[in-house]
Every structure is written in C-alpha cells, then in structure tokens.
C-alpha cells in the first residue's frame, strides 16, 4: 500500500514539468541529501549517530507479550521497554498502556491541557516535498502577508483570548527571509506571551537573532528518520539535506531557545521506527541539554489541495494512540502536542491519556483568520492551506469542551526573560 503523491498541474510550463518528472523518476538527477549545501552550519554532535543506529537495529517483531508486561511493571521505562511498547506485541495491551500513561501524565502535568494556535504568514516554498500542499510544483494560491496584515491577523487571534502563538511559513528564504520572520515575531510579542516558530531550519546565529526577536520555542519536523525514504520524499530544495534538518533543534538550543519540538510525519515511512527515532531524538537532546523544555508532536499525513487521496496508510487511530501512550511512559516529562489534523473525538480522548497541548481556532491558510473567526467576507486575497484540518473548534469551544472533560485549560505557563 502506498500513496500516489505525484500530481501534475496544467499550469506548469513544459520545462518545469520536464524537470519535475526528471526529479520524480531519475534519482541520479537529485542532489546528495547527506551533503550540506553552501551556508549550512555543521555542528559537532553525537545525537544523530545514536538515534539513527538505534532506529536501524530496531527489530520490533522480536518483542513478545512478556516484554510488554515487563515494561508495564517497571518504575522507569528503559529504551528496551520503550521498544517493546511500540511493537506489534503491545497492541493487545493498549488499555493497560493508556492507564499507565494517564498516571504519568497526571504526575507531571496534573489535569491540565495547554492551548495554542498556529499562524501561517506565508506559503511560498522552494522545496519539492511530494506529500505537502505547499510544495513548489503544487498549483495553489501563494501569498505572503505584509506587516500590517500580520498585525491584523494577530489582533483577531489575540481578541479570541489566545496567549500562545506558533508562527509558520513555507520554506523560502527568498520570499520569507529570517529578518521578515524576525519582524513578525517582534509583532507577535506585542500580542502573545509565548511565541514559537515552525520555519525552515537556520544556523545558530540566526536562531539567536530570532530569540532576541522574542521567539522561545522552535519546532522542526524531521518528517521521517529513515534517510533513504527521506531522499525519495524531498526531491528538491534545501530541505533535502537530511543531517542539517536533524541538528536544527540542537542549534536552536545552542542559540539560547528555551524549548524545542521534534516529530516525524506518520504515514511517510515505517511508523514504529519513526516513532522510536522521534522519541530518542528528544531523549538524547534532553540528556545533553537538561534545561531545555522539550515536546513531541505526532502528525499523521492528511489530504492536501489537488491531492485529496493522501492518507496515513497503516497508522490508524489505534496505532497513533499506542505511540502516544508509549511516548508518555518513556518520556513522562515531555510535552505532547496533538494537532487539528486529528478528529474532535480523538483529541477529546487523548488529552485524558497523554496529550498535554492541543491547538484551537486553527487555520493552515494565509490571511484568513478574520473570515474564519467571524464569518466576515475578506476584502483581500487569501493563500491556500498546507493541509486539510479535521478538528475546527474555536478557542472558546475548545476551552469549554476541555473543561467539560474535567481538564483545566491553560493559555499561558510562561514568562519571557
């Protein structure tokens, strides 16, 4: 079973189409994804080697119910225990895992759930990542907000009561420079108490600059930790460079950021191996940077504009739940974010087990918060979305729903110092 990712737009020129097909069909036409491009900083770190070798040697079929039972009775979960909990042998133990995960979540986070919202400020992109709605060959309405438009969006969001914001862009240094993003973050600091970014990976000095602009949280998704598979999915652009992306969180921490988030995009590759690698990435970062606030996300593939068939394949809700229980048991201190890619019922259920942070009032489009929040017709253009969301509850609705589930919604837990 495999997604069919390749879609040709009728609006592409003949030469662009030719280039696209060449990249898709001829691996020799693509650059070496393990080689750094000009301007990319290389840091010395042993985390990459540790994560990748553990992942490669992970044989999840060798674990049995005995291993899973043992893991569930241990006070602290070892890497071996975690591997057992991610294995197919753990599937029949899902309810037991959920019970244990809930205890751990309650020990570390009590009965709280954090709320935040993303703000996409531009969707230009120079990469050809074949599963992504923003990819450079996908025929979508492109847009980049100017500072007035950004401020207007922020005002609309802030008015809803939201205090934490995640600023996102497509990956284009040319269209969305570090300075442009920095200015947007300075604006964000006026309206929000916590500002995170999810942008293209940058060098340490650029993360330091963004930190000075008010950013304290950096999210980078590795998409898949299997570098061979990565190479087949990211055909063009700086995102192709696998190790530069891998070290992004570490560069951010070296630059003084308070927190980072990691994740694979589940459904792209072998999800058990990707889940193992995501958690180990966090595990080793935490050991090396014990002061860092660390979190994991767990996005599954979603349909995109011009390709509504894309789906997460064998990562069903049960598998996702198993992963999130295993994450919690292995990394009790780690924040776990579940995005609006997931359904209302799944998010209502998972916040009682292991998730600690969910988004609300979400749009993955550009410049459309006013029309989405108020229903008011937008006089200016809007840019298309990165992917289709599932759960479209507003902040107010989410706040009330979480309260009804017996959880205390938290809008801010943080001081920028």
């Amino acid at each position: 079973m495999e997604n069919n990712y390749f879609v040709d737009s009728g609006n592409l020129s003949e030469s662009a189409l030719k280039r696209k097909h060449e990249l898709e069909n001829n691996p020799a036409s693509r650059t070496n994804h393990m080689e750094y491009m000009d301007g990319m900083e290389q840091i010395k770190s042993d985390i990459f080697g540790k994560v990748i070798s553990e992942m490669k040697s992970y044989d999840y079929n060798k674990y049995t119910a005995v291993d899973v039972n043992r893991a569930l009775t241990h006070d602290t979960c070892t890497i071996e225990d975690f591997k057992a909990l991610l294995s197919p042998a753990a599937e029949p133990f899902l309810e037991k895992m959920a019970q244990k995960a809930r205890l751990e979540t309650q020990k570390h986070f009590g009965n709280t759930v954090y709320l935040f919202t993303p703000l996409y400020i531009a969707n230009y992109c120079e990469n050809y990542c074949i599963y992504c709605g923003f990819n450079c060959y996908n025929d979508i309405r492109r847009m980049k907000l100017n500072m007035e438009q950004i401020e207007h969006e922020m005002q609309v969001i802030a008015k809803s009561g939201m205090e934490e914001i995640l600023i996102l862009t497509g990956e284009s240094r040319a269209k969305s420079s570090v300075e442009y993003i920095g200015e947007a973050c300075k604006l964000a600091r006026k309206y929000f108490r916590l500002v995170g970014i999810e942008i293209y990976p940058v060098n340490t000095d650029e993360y330091r600059y963004l930190h000075e602009c008010g950013v304290d949280y950096v999210t980078v998704f590795q998409e898949t930790y299997d570098s061979d598979r990565y190479e087949q999915l990211h055909l063009l652009g700086h995102k192709r460079v696998f190790p530069y992306r891998f070290d992004a969180q570490e560069r951010a921490l070296m630059a003084g950021m308070r927190g980072i988030a990691c994740s694979a995009l589940l459904g792209l590759s072998d999800f058990r191996k990707d889940a193992l690698a995501s958690a180990l990435h966090v595990y080793y970062l935490q050991r090396k940077y014990p002061q860092a606030e660390i979190s994991l996300s767990c996005p599954r593939l979603r349909p995109i504009k011009n390709n509504v068939e894309i789906n997460p394949l064998d990562v069903h809700e049960k598998q996702l739940c198993q992963i999130l229980c295993a994450y919690r048991i292995f990394l009790p201190f780690c924040g776990i974010t579940v995005s609006s890619r997931e359904s209302r019922s799944f998010r209502n259920g998972i916040v009682k087990i292991s998730a600690t942070k969910i988004s609300a009032g979400v749009s993955t489009g550009i410049g459309d918060h006013e029309s989405k929040y108020t229903g008011k017709e937008n006089s200016s253009a809007e840019g298309d979305e990165q992917f289709e969301i599932d759960d479209n509850r507003s902040l107010e609705k989410m706040y009330n729903d979480m309260s009804d589930e017996g959880l205390q919604p938290v809008l801010n837990d943080y001081l920028y110092v």
């Binding site: 043992r70 569930l72 009775t73 602290t76 019970q99 259920g349 087990i353």
Partner: protein, 257 residues
C-alpha cells in the same frame, strides 16, 4: 552479555565490581580482604601512605591490584589537587578518588569544590573518580568536568545504614552516562546487592568489612552479593505484582478505525 561484562574506568577494564577500602582495619588483613573480596581496586588514603619506615600500607597491598589513592583530608579543591599530584609522584598511578570535606563531624563531601578539583585533575590526565552527595546537577557538572565515574554516597560515611539516598542514586543511574559507583554507608551485603540491582556499576565498602566479626568471610559475602546484584540487573528484573486499585473506566473506547 554476562561473559563480556566489564567495568570500564578511564579506558581501563576491570572484572570485579567491588572496590575495597583499606583504611579502617589491620594492615595484616588487607591481603586476605583483597583475596576474598575478589577486589581489583583498592583505595588508599595518601595521607596514610608514607608516614613511617615500618608498616607502610603500600607494602601490604598485593601486586596486580589497582591503587585508587584518595584525597581524604582535603578541605578544598586546591588541597585535593595537591594531594592527587603527590600521589602520582609517589608512584600510585593516575587513578584518583576525590574526597573533599569541609566538615569533620559528618564527613559530607563538598560538591562544588569537588567539581573544581575534578576539572583540574582531568585536564592533567588523571582518571578522576569523585565522591559526592547524590545531586543530579553536580553529577552533570562532573561529567562536563571530565570525571571517569561518579561516586554518590548511600548514607553518611561509616554509618552502615545502607541506601538512604536510594531514589537520588537511581536518578543518577538513569541520567548519567558514566559508571555510578555507590560509595559510603553500605553496611550489609544485601544493600550492596540492591545497589547493583538498581544498575550501579560498582560498590565500594570499607567500614562494613572493618566492623564485621570475621573480615575475610564478610569480604567474600560482599563479593557474592555484588555479583548476584549485577547478574540480576543484566538479566532484567521480573514484574512485581501490585495490588492496585481496580481499573477505572476504559480510556481507549473513543478509538475508531
């Protein structure tokens, strides 16, 4: 796994995971203690080493045993550094156990001075094994300072009270990538065994042997306990049945597909 199980300190391999103290019992018993304990490392207070023509402790330590000179008597990092250098000059090798005490009542180690001394001595090529109060932040500082192991105390030195700091030692074992050697306060073989089951890399004991009725027999009992605990750790302890509350409502009923 068990066949190749070595304790590695500063690149040196050891088969025994029981480190012996030497300062609290008759010099004449040292040889028997080493033999029955199966020890490959024995500590030595440098301040005791060269006091008289006769009865020099170095003469009583069998060949082939690695000397671990300690800096007992040092009250700060400077003094510990001087004692360590002296030990090297005396031909005691490159191993050094840092002990810095600013209080003579409880003999509790001074963690911050210990970090300073570790950094200086590691740069000079010593295999530095710092004795410390089990504190995670200090342990991380010791790793960064170049320590070869971390030696947290189990309870006040000489007290034979066992693993009073158990939870904190477990945190060090879980979080620190160096060998964690439990030192001070271990009074019985069962306590040494428990520390090894927790994942400690080795146990060090002195008073427990010195105060036993029959020192060589107690040394052997410790050796067996340390070996048993190590094997249990490597084998992976089995499950413990807990009489917990009945499961609450099902948590996973919401899952579709």
């Amino acid at each position: 796994m068990i066949e190749n199980d070595k304790l590695i300190l500063g690149g040196h391999e050891f088969n025994s995971r029981f480190i012996l103290g030497s300062g609290k019992y008759s010099l004449k018993l040292i040889e028997a203690a080493v033999k029955y304990a199966g020890a490959e490392i024995i500590t030595l207070a440098v301040r005791r080493a060269n006091t008289a023509e006769s009865e020099n402790i170095l003469d009583y330590i069998p060949d082939g045993v690695t000397l671990l000179p300690n800096t007992s008597g040092a009250r700060n990092a400077d003094e510990a550094v001087r004692i360590a250098r002296l030990a090297r000059e005396l031909g005691c090798g490159d191993f050094v156990k840092i002990e810095i005490m600013r209080d003579t009542k409880y003999l509790l180690p001074d963690n911050s001075e210990t970090v300073k001394a570790t950094e200086i001595l590691a740069k000079e090529g010593f295999v530095v094994m710092p004795y410390m109060y089990p504190d995670l932040n200090t342990a991380r500082d010791l790793v960064n300072a170049g320590a070869a192991s971390v030696m947290p105390l189990a309870s006040p030195i000489g007290s034979n009270k066992g693993l009073a700091t158990k939870d904190f030692i477990q945190i060090l074992i879980d979080e620190i990538d160096l060998p964690i050697i439990v030192d001070a306060g271990i009074g019985r073989p069962s306590q040494a065994c428990e520390a090894m089951e927790m994942g400690a890399a080795a146990v060090m004991s002195n008073t427990a042997l010195a105060t036993a009725g029959d020192l060589p027999v107690m040394a052997e009992a410790f050796r067996q306990a340390v070996e048993a605990g190590r094997k249990a750790y490597l084998a992976g302890l089995g499950r413990v049945l807990t009489r917990g509350a009945a499961p609450s409502d099902t948590l996973t009923g919401f899952l579709h597909d």
